[in-house]
């Protein structure tokens, strides 16, 4: 079964009086356990597609199915629930809530889910260890480096066992070494936990990790193929 799929997505914006096609008849099918990169120049529609797939934004027309269920017609609250339970997000920057510590940021999602305190603490500590930040649980985001912040964000994205993690330019603000370490973490999680990753990026370092590369331009998919020999 596909983890997530879309059929004939259309989305237009108006910007400075011009109509811009954000998504132009996009159909894509992503299987469970895949590791997909969305690439393309800025404005090509990759973030728009990611937002639509993640239920952050609604397409003008077309269908989106998550786990076989239509989500494009859901209301705001139902979309929030869907994101909470099925999808993890990693953004380019400002991923964390500044007033919460690393551990609290990870527990945040579980707290809105209503997970009991003891279970939350156990799980968040385990996952901090998994991303290599076991000694940093009481630090606030401002006391962490950029790479560490992104690791906390990844930890938070996977803590509630989502089927799908969507990452938007996760390495944009990182140096090469940190970026590589982050991608290694992604790959490890993909393998060990069978989490589906969709990463929007124009960073070639990232694309090297992707088993499937989707290229977009002007809101259209122009290129979609598996890269043998990766993974």
């Amino acid at each position: 079964m596909s983890a997530i799929s879309s059929k004939n997505l259309h989305k237009t914006f108006s910007q400075g009086g011009h109509i811009i096609k954000g998504l132009d008849d996009v159909s894509i099918d992503i299987e469970e356990g895949e590791f997909v990169c969305l690439s393309g120049p800025s404005g090509s529609g990759k973030t728009t597609l990611l937002n639509a797939l993640g239920g952050l934004d609604r397409p003008d027309s077309g269908e989106i199915l998550v786990g076989g269920k239509r989500v494009d017609q859901l209301g705001k609250a139902e979309l929030a629930d869907m994101r909470l339970h099925h999808i993890g997000f990693v953004f380019q920057a400002y991923n964390l809530i500044p007033v919460l510590t690393a551990q609290e940021n990870i527990e945040f999602v579980m707290q809105i889910q209503g997970v009991p305190a003891a279970a939350r603490a156990e799980k968040s500590r385990a996952i901090l260890k998994e991303v290599g930040l076991e000694d940093h649980e009481n630090r606030r985001p401002s006391q962490l480096s950029g790479g560490q912040q992104q690791r906390v964000a990844v930890a938070r994205a996977i803590v509630s066992n989502p089927t799908l993690v969507l990452a938007d330019e996760p390495t944009a603000n990182l140096d090469s070494l940190t970026a590589t370490q982050l991608m290694d973490l992604f790959v490890k999680l993909n393998r060990e936990r069978n989490i589906t990753f969709v990463i929007a990026t124009h960073d070639t370092r990232v694309m090297q990790y992707c088993r499937r590369l989707v290229r977009m331009e002007d809101g259209k998919i122009i290129f979609d193929e598996s890269q043998p020999g990766i993974g």
């Binding site: 339970h85 953004f91 945040f108 707290q111």
Partner: protein, 414 residues
């Protein structure tokens, strides 16, 4: 996975509390404003309450008895023609039951008093001394001579100011003159056996005490009296029991509580709560602009975080709740500090603030020259309710706006 639609409140509280102190300067300034506002609300109500209390007590001190029974025509025409008999058995049984603590019967007629030098109009009060003392007359107020000793006492007790005006003194004789029910002039000479002092000069000039039986004999009215005055020694509880007295006294007699007997005091008492509420609301409105501004700023600088939380699956109404909680914490903190400040500043003032500078002006309002602020739990609760209710109402707009952000746009904001 379990879908829990109800959120865990602790995380919202944590977020709200920490966010509150992110910009501690702003929070502290706003907190100071709220504390000042709350303090002022309670201070003004305490002053008002103290003033009203003083006015009512003074009013009741002049002629004690929170509830009085008269002839139906007496209040319109307070003359000797409109008298009532002594209480019957049914009324007596009520008058001797709690909460009533004391009652007395008086005969009260306008009259003239003449010394060798001058003549004045007075209110002749034919009283029974023990009953009058039980109703609140203070023997210590008699500064020269003595108070009346019995209802048959043949002397007269007048006020200090009246004695001055009449150019007379203790031990001298005066002539009192009034009319009997047949409109014949009744007069007799009396010796001044006591001189009393009152808080208001007007009282000293108006009331002259004589023995009830002496006055009844002089007027030839048998055992009839002008009024039966009743007290439970607490003017605020009157509304709980005066109707019982009225029922026992029957329709033939006019039974009224002080609120009706003194329309001015009654009005003041009934509008006091409204005036306090208006003052509180006005102070709050002056505060509210700052409060809304603080919240708008707080939300505005956190747009991106709010977008993030929404992207992570936090529902809009929870975002709203979080902002409201933040506002509530600020208000609550201000309320606690404001109330504490009010208690500590007003309690020492309760023993009285001397305001003799404007004393005569206040006497015009029927008050003494000392103001006794009265801290009341009721006012503290009212100010708390006003601040919390209106505060939440004012916070709704910024909170609602925060919940309406579109996560993508909010996240894109730099």
């Amino acid at each position: 996975m379990r879908t829990n639609k109800s959120l865990s409140p602790s995380i919202l509280a944590t977020l709200a509390w920490r966010n509150l102190w992110r910009n501690y300067r702003r929070t502290l300034i706003m907190l100071m404003a709220i504390v000042l506002g709350v303090w002022a609300m309670i201070l003004f109500s305490s002053m008002m309450r103290g003033m009203l209390d003083e006015m009512v007590r003074e009013g009741l001190r002049v002629l004690p008895g929170e509830v009085q029974i008269h002839h139906p025509e007496y209040r319109d025409d307070p003359s000797v023609a409109n008298l009532i008999g002594e209480p019957d058995a049914q009324l007596l049984s009520v008058l001797n039951t709690a909460p009533i603590e004391a009652w007395t019967a008086r005969i009260k007629v306008p009259g003239m008093i003449s010394s060798e030098r001058d003549t004045r109009g007075v209110l002749l009060l034919g009283i029974e001394p023990d009953g009058e003392i039980a109703l609140g007359f203070k023997l210590a107020d008699v500064i020269e001579g003595r108070f009346l000793e019995s209802a048959a006492d043949k002397g007269i007790v007048i006020g200090r100011k009246l004695a001055d005006r009449l150019d007379t003194e203790l031990g001298k004789r005066v002539v009192i003159m009034t009319q009997d029910p047949d409109n014949e002039v009744a007069d007799r000479g009396m010796r001044i056996v006591g001189i009393y002092r009152a808080r208001l000069e007007a009282t000293e000039q108006l009331n002259a005490y004589v023995g009830r039986e002496t006055l009844q004999k002089m007027l030839g009215v048998g055992n009839s009296v002008s009024e039966i005055a009743i007290t439970a020694n607490n003017y605020q509880t009157v509304k709980n029991w005066w109707q019982t007295v009225a029922d026992a006294a029957g329709d033939e007699q006019d039974t009224q509580p002080w609120m009706v007997l003194d329309g001015y005091l009654g009005t003041m008492a009934s509008v006091q709560g409204t005036i306090n509420l208006i003052i509180m609301v006005v102070i709050f409105i002056a505060l509210s602009f700052g409060l809304v501004n603080t919240l708008v700023m707080a939300v505005f600088e956190r747009v991106r975080e709010i977008g993030l939380m929404m992207a992570l699956g936090m529902r809009p109404q929870w975002i709203m709740l979080q902002v409201l909680l933040e506002s509530l914490m600020l208000l609550g903190l201000g309320l606690i500090l404001g109330n504490v400040l009010a208690v500590f500043t007003i309690l020492p003032l309760q023993s009285g603030i001397g305001i003799s500078v404007v004393g005569e002006g206040l006497e015009m309002y029927g008050m003494g020259t000392t103001l006794y602020p009265k801290l009341a739990l009721q006012d503290m609760l009212l100010s708390t309710a006003v601040v919390l209710l209106l505060g939440l109402a004012a916070s709704l707009i910024p909170a609602w706006r925060a919940s309406r952000y579109n996560p993508i746009e909010a996240l894109a904001k730099t």
